[in-house]
């Protein structure tokens, strides 16, 4: 919302500098985004008198004019259609600069010399009007510098208005705030004007409101004999300052009053209204209507229409119709000033995606008791600027009267909520400028009447905010109370996640955070069968069409991004949410996943050794280390179900449940991500499972004071027996003193029988009670051998 300093000063007196005003408004909740003084470079731009106008010899649309500046006469080629002998207009002399930065010099235009330029308002940056030369009043002194004609430049404030303050979408609203901040009051504005006597508006028009909820009030005036013409310079330039285009005097007046009062007005061409009737009714489903901007809208029965006896003529509160628009031949205006239900206007504007200055105000809430004031302000201007004759009587249908809200305010509650110590007098002192009325005041209680232009004031707490605002938040003293409810338990689920992050960073993985919105194409291989992509209805792009179904998708995207930047060796992790749409039930499945990735070389060629590439056992090592740190030692492996893995892959089963998988990504998925070399290994684990199965209660296990005894055991065993099975059975049969099993040799191939493998474990035995004797260790190993032999047919490997 743009306002100007001069305009504000018409409604309130204050002496703040622009800087001080910007700060004061910001600290009262009206954030000033920027403010600037309009600067025009008017040096060498003076009032010129057009002495003669001749046709240009070589161009139909150009004229050659003689312009007098008092100091001399200049011959100028001019293209403006409104140039005429005797007119006064701004004249830029050679050396002057116009608004677009062009410097005026003597030059030839189609073979005729031209010195200087006659200017439009747009060329001087005073308004958008560019169609013709700026016409200056006859009594303007010739040769006067334009700066002296235009006066001091105005200062424009661009203020961001929060959606609860529709009253501040107006000059008066902001002036009222300034009055409240500075402790003064608003200047009263006159709405008096001459009226035609003894005519009854009912003879001209009847208004019928069919839905008083959607239209609580409809006021209107008839103005006859208007002359549609360009607005005077002051009006066009003021609208220009606040960002509104000048159209003609009547339309400009409605906009000007809307900016001043926040009450949107609409001017109908009375002769285009059939049957001397206005009907305010709901549309029928599918009803079509063409608005002023020549767009056709298809409406539903929620929408509210302003109709004449035959047809809709305006889309209530949003935009007028093309069929009743004011044009140059308009003689009589029917001026509408109404109150429409905010929710209904918003729903309609949203449905047809048409937001206007008018709808913006109605949907936030205008003042139902301000319709006549705004209408009369406009009528006054129409009389002054369009020679209009205002009919004495007017329409004011107000079937659903909206009265001020009464609120009980407790001084005690105010101080309790704000942490202040204000007296009733302190508090009530803020009310007059805000036009908050006081019905009565008893002890702690103040009964308040909130003005109807403030739809945001309905409860005690709303009034407390007004008090806090004007007291100034800065003056409320910060209190740091001792922490309450420190007894509450920490959130283990959050803490453990942070622990997992520390483990992975400790293992040398770098943490990444990727966009969790991805394309459907990349998501496809990661969505479990029988589920669907969690798609957005209104994505910003195809690349961000829905929620990622896997953390690995993000990590592969990151790998591709870095590989495109010559970073091929990567060791990354990410923890984040993934989701998909459930086919089985309503809604979405969303959960947290941990993912890690190893890409390229684990070690580059160096002075101490050759290069090494990551392999399956690197990623398995990472998974095992993570599970170990989480206290999960008994995981099992199985077949993977995800389609993106290579044969070198394995699932992670904890207590028999599929909790994740690891391995090498296959060529197809690498190609999908445009990763050229398929040397990427990864893992994912669902966080919930890791959290649930973690070792919750760590307890110290005393270490033995006695020496441990190592024993190497080499066996031959069927090649298809899984190592974790063998280790499990060794543990099952070795007795209580086996404390560690470590595989140190593995061989499959020519040296051993087909279908067999040779494996060697280093077993460590130790007791907490005594030094183990050879006999005990031998017995244990014998038991292991016998057990493995019985179960798997394993035999001791011959030396």
């Amino acid at each position: 919302m743009k306002v100007t300093l001069k305009w504000l000063k018409e409604f309130v007196d204050f002496s703040l500098t622009p800087d001080e005003l910007a700060h004061a408004l910001t600290m009262a909740g009206l954030e000033v985004e920027e403010f600037y003084t309009e600067r025009h470079d008017f040096s060498k731009i003076v009032v010129g008198k057009v002495l003669s106008v001749e046709k240009h010899p070589n161009a139909d649309r150009l004229t050659v004019c003689t312009v007098d500046t008092g100091d001399g006469q200049f011959s100028v080629v001019c293209g403006a259609p409104n140039v005429s002998p005797g007119m006064l207009s701004p004249f830029a002399m050679n050396g002057g600069t116009v608004a677009n930065g062009m410097k005026i010099t003597s030059r030839e235009v189609r073979g005729v010399k031209s010195s200087g330029m006659l200017c439009s308002e747009a060329e001087l940056g005073l308004s958008e009007r560019a169609a013709g030369l700026m016409v200056l009043p006859e009594n303007t002194p010739v040769g006067l510098n334009m700066e002296d004609y235009v006066g001091n430049p105005d200062t424009v404030f661009d203020i961001s208005i929060t959606s609860n303050r529709p009253d501040c979408l107006s000059i008066i609203g902001i002036a009222r705030e300034i009055a409240a901040i500075t402790g003064t009051s608003l200047k009263k504005q006159k709405t008096t004007f001459a009226v035609t006597p003894q005519e009854n508006i009912d003879d001209y028009i009847k208004v019928d409101i069919k839905n008083s909820f959607k239209c609580a009030r409809y006021s209107g005036r008839l103005i006859q004999n208007v002359k549609i013409k360009p607005s005077p310079f002051w009006l066009a330039s003021r609208l220009h300052s606040v960002g509104i285009r000048s159209i003609n005097n009547v339309v400009d007046i409605t906009n000007y009053i809307m900016m001043e009062t926040s009450q949107p007005l609409h001017a109908f061409d009375y002769k285009k209204l059939a049957g001397k009737t206005i009907n305010v009714r709901e549309a029928v489903d599918g009803e079509k209507f063409v608005t002023l901007d020549e767009q056709e809208h298809i409406l539903d029965k929620e929408a509210l229409l302003i109709c004449d006896a035959e047809k809709p003529v305006a889309l209530a509160g949003i935009m007028g119709g093309l069929n009743s628009e004011v044009d140059n031949s308009t003689e009589t205006i029917f001026l509408e000033s109404a109150y429409f239900d905010p929710g209904n206007i918003r729903r309609t504007a949203k449905k047809i995606d048409l937001f206007t200055e008018s709808s913006r105000r109605f949907e936030r809430g205008t003042d139902p008791n301000g319709t006549v004031f705004a209408m009369d302000r406009a009528a006054k201007l129409m009389q002054e600027l369009a020679d209009g004759r205002v009919l004495s009587s007017f329409i004011d249908n107000y079937p659903r009267k909206i009265t001020p809200v009464e609120i009980d305010l407790s001084v005690k509650n105010t101080n309790k909520l704000l942490g202040t110590n204000l007296s009733a007098e302190n508090i009530t002192a803020y009310f007059p400028a805000l036009e908050i009325g006081i019905n009565k005041q008893e002890n702690d209680l103040i009964q308040i009447k909130a003005p109807t232009f403030r739809p945001d004031l309905t409860r005690e707490v709303d009034i407390i905010e007004e008090i806090a605002r004007l007291y100034n938040y800065d003056n409320i003293i910060p209190v740091l109370a001792p922490p309450v409810n420190q007894e509450q338990e920490a959130n283990q689920k959050v803490n453990f996640k942070d622990q997992v992050r520390h483990y992975l960073a400790g293992f040398g993985f770098k943490e990444t955070v990727a966009y969790s919105l991805v394309s459907e194409k990349l998501a496809e291989p990661f969505i479990p069968s029988k589920n669907e992509f969690a798609q957005l209805l209104n994505p910003i792009s195809r690349d961000m069409a829905g929620f990622r179904p896997s953390i690995l998708l993000s990590l592969l995207t990151t790998v591709a991004y870095n590989r495109n930047r010559q970073k091929s060796n990567l060791r990354l992790y990410e923890i984040g949410n993934v989701a998909w749409k459930d086919q089985q039930k309503e809604g979405f499945t969303e959960f947290t996943q941990i993912g890690g990735i190893l890409a390229g070389k684990s070690q580059e060629q160096s002075w101490y050794g050759p290069e090494e590439s990551y392999n399956f056992y690197d990623i398995k090592g990472a998974v095992a280390a993570l599970l170990h740190k989480c206290g999960i030692n008994g995981y099992e492996q199985g077949q993977v179900v995800e389609p993106f893995w290579d044969v070198e892959s394995s699932s992670i089963l904890i207590n028999g449940k599929y909790c994740g998988a690891f391995g090498k990504f296959n060529q197809d998925v690498c190609s999908l991500f445009k990763i050229k070399v398929a040397d990427i290994y990864g893992f994912f684990i669902n966080y919930e499972e890791l959290f649930e199965n973690r070792l919750k209660d760590k307890k110290y296990d005393p270490v033995s004071k006695f020496p441990s005894v190592p024993f190497d055991l080499a066996i031959l065993i069927d090649a298809n027996i899984a190592l974790h099975e063998i280790e499990k059975e060794i543990k099952n049969s070795a007795g209580p003193h086996l404390i560690k099993i470590r595989l140190f040799d593995f061989y499959k191939g020519e040296q051993v029988k087909k279908g067999k493998k040779s494996i060697a474990f280093s077993l460590t035995f130790s007791s907490k009670e005594c030094t183990l004797g050879d006999e005990e260790v031998e017995q244990a190993v014998n038991n292991v051998l016998a057990h493995l032999n019985k179960l798997f047919g394993a035999v001791l490997r011959p030396g």
């Binding site: 729903r347 040398g508 955070v513 991004y561």
Partner: protein
């Protein structure tokens, strides 16, 4: 030739004695290597005894195996010791160069956004707040309605929302976590909700459709706006140093009343710089006293309880802290960027 246990044990003792004599006489690496070949090679003395193991009775094998293993280990250790003793010789001194680079480590790291988030979490946990998390796919009810943002309310314009069909959407703030928490617990409540949020912004240097937010909530008897200012100020000082100042300005949020925007003093200490656009203040986020209407949705009595809520953008703070000038960099995960943290 079948052996019995006693003869094997006896041979082990003899070999041990012989080895001890040999190893004592070695005077160089080469001498020692020769002794190693004699005792430990594939056709060495010890290996020969291992072959004999196979001829023992089954019940004797483990005992003999254990003894033999021990002998082998002892010999290996003694040879290693001896070899090491020669390493201080001239040759190895020549090879040693302390300026050669050390072996490379894989250096793990935390993402800068989450480092900042960790810091924020630590500060609030220290002030008695509990961390709560929630889903990123939320319902309209929890993201809007229960926060006093009814359908068709203009304040929804502040939240350009991604919709997922039906009642589902991507949360536009972490405030729904507060609603879930209040639905499940009675006051007193002191919590923060960190997490990813989504708004339909086209990515550019200062906008990201995905961003991280921390929202705080405190509900108890007698909680005041002064308490809110106190907590936010304490946070600013812990995060940015004891000279950090906080400024509160009135604003509007449907879920708080009174509502505020709060700013932190700029690093330029009010002198004015490019970062603060010469205002001396950095806009951080919004805060306020919980609107009684919100309490209505979670069945708290606003006559008994009051509370404050505040929010902050993690990216905003990380950008200020690390002088990052483009928000998109955080989500690119360029390792040359990540390595710097």
């Amino acid at each position: 030739m079948a052996e019995n246990l006693q003869t094997i044990i006896a041979q082990i003792s003899e070999i041990a004695a012989e080895f001890n004599k040999d190893i004592q006489q070695t005077k160089s690496r080469d001498d020692t290597e020769q002794v190693k070949v004699k005792f430990l090679s594939r056709k060495g003395v010890v290996q020969n005894l291992f072959v004999l193991l196979g001829t023992l009775e089954n019940q004797d094998r483990p005992r003999a195996g254990a003894e033999l293993n021990r002998l082998k280990n002892d010999i290996q250790n003694a040879i290693d010791e001896k070899l090491k003793s020669f390493q201080t010789g001239k040759r190895s001194i020549e090879l040693f160069d302390p300026t050669l680079p050390g072996k490379e480590y894989h250096i793990g790291s935390f993402h800068p956004l989450l480092q900042v988030l960790d810091e924020i979490k630590d500060i609030f946990v220290g002030m008695g707040f509990r961390i709560e998390e929630g889903n990123e796919i939320e319902t309209d009810y929890h993201n809007f309605e229960a926060l006093n943002i009814p359908p068709d309310h203009p304040s929804r314009d502040m939240h350009d929302t991604f919709y997922m069909g039906g009642k589902y959407l991507l949360r536009t703030h972490t405030s729904p976590v507060q609603i879930h928490t209040m639905e499940q617990q009675k006051p007193p409540i002191r919590m923060i909700a960190p997490g990813k949020c989504y708004r339909k912004d086209t990515p550019d240097a200062s906008h990201s459709p995905i961003f991280n937010q921390v929202e705080g909530l405190c509900v108890d008897k007698g909680v005041s706006f002064g308490d809110l200012k106190g907590v936010v100020q304490a946070f600013a000082q812990k995060m940015f140093g004891k000279d950090a100042k906080v400024r509160f300005r009135p604003s509007f949020f449907p879920f708080t009343e009174p509502s505020a925007e709060y700013d932190f003093s700029c690093f330029c200490k009010g002198k004015g710089c490019r970062v603060c656009k010469n205002t001396g203040w950095l806009e951080i986020s919004g805060a306020g006293m919980v609107d009684p209407a919100v309490f209505g949705f979670v069945d708290y009595d606003p006559q008994v309880y009051s509370g404050y809520a505040f929010g902050m953008g993690v990216e905003r703070i990380a950008m200020l802290k690390y002088r990052v000038n483009d928000i998109r960099i955080f989500y690119e995960n360029d390792v040359r960027f990540l390595e710097q943290f």
